[in-house]
Amino acid sequence: MKMDADVRQKIIGNGLASLLIYALPVALMFLTFYLTNQRPWQQTAPSSVPIVRYYQSFERGLGPFQDYALTVFVIVLGILEFSFGLYEKRWTKTERSIDIACFAASYIVIRPFTTYVGLKVLPIVLPGLKNLYVWVPFLWGVFIICIADDLTQYWYHRLHHQIPWLWRFHRTHHSAAYMGMAMASRQNLIYTIFFSQIYLTAALVYLGLGGPALIVLGLKGVITTLAHSCIPWDKPFYKYKVLRPAAWVLERLISTPATHHAHHAASTDDGIGYYKGNFGNMFFLWDVIFGTAHISREYPKAYGISHYQGDQWYAQLLWPIFKSKVEGSELAANGPMVK
């Protein structure tokens, strides 16, 4: 199955525009330094920003739990979703196994692997560059990483939808017929382990932007988990007139349940579902800029893949190493490349 010519053209055009967007925060930082005569690399001590002090005291307050704050948040949200019965009866044994295996794999495999890359591989690939850009002011660092990390993830995600031979690596994330916090980590392990933005951000941490990366990754974890959650926290923004201006900004800036659930819809026929777009993870802005956005302020009635028949958990976790036994499935040994 080949990619449509207009899709290919849009990918090339949007890709070239992205090169400018990647350079934008550094260009703005350069301009600011030039106009204000700042030379932060000449300072002996890094400047102190109030938000950094607040963050450091927040981190100290968490004590030994600081490394697990996001995990605890995800688990609490999961318990809330489960106790309100929001998965209904669609959380079958197979789906439960996939969700739990993917959630566990991100801690057992992905984290140790990326830590290893950060500590052992980067000093070999980028020798002598450790902390070279530690002088980048904190808030500029946050701006740089917000764009670098999330725009890269937008592209990684978009390409897995628009390039037919990449789709099956991402299919697991869309196979569930429900939405919930577990969806954020429900991925084929090979899709997750080669996440481009992980290695880009790890390289930026190695170059000295560790502090800003912590803030951005925390924020991103919360936004993406809430966008996948079956708790429609954005509903009041559309319901109350006074909140509508805020809703207009919010739904264009970050991923919300309404826009991201539309991406997970089983169908596009109702004018709500839109799995051909809404690729943004933390920021929805990329979809607005590149014309892949669809905003309806409503939630789809059905999620998942219409032809899905419950492939085994191991095939969904590790395709193409393990294949599905479901005949005709895209993950089966001679399965079709459908998209």
Binding site: L19, A23, W41, A148, L159
Partner: protein
């Protein structure tokens, strides 16, 4: 796993590598140029003020 699966994996890793390396090079180049150009311009300003 067959040979065609392995080919698919290699192609996938290559796409991922390009998506990592391109933005990294832009940022590395941008940060390097920022420091270099502004250091040069402040040196030039210092030299010209000493000359006066």
């Amino acid at each position: 796993m067959r040979l065609q699966d392995l080919t698919l994996l290699v192609k996938k890793v290559l796409v991922g590598a390009v998506a990592t390396v391109v933005p990294l090079l832009i940022l590395l180049g941008g940060l390097h140029l920022t420091r270099r150009m502004l250091t040069d311009s402040s040196r030039t300003e210092q030299v010209s003020s000493h000359a006066k």
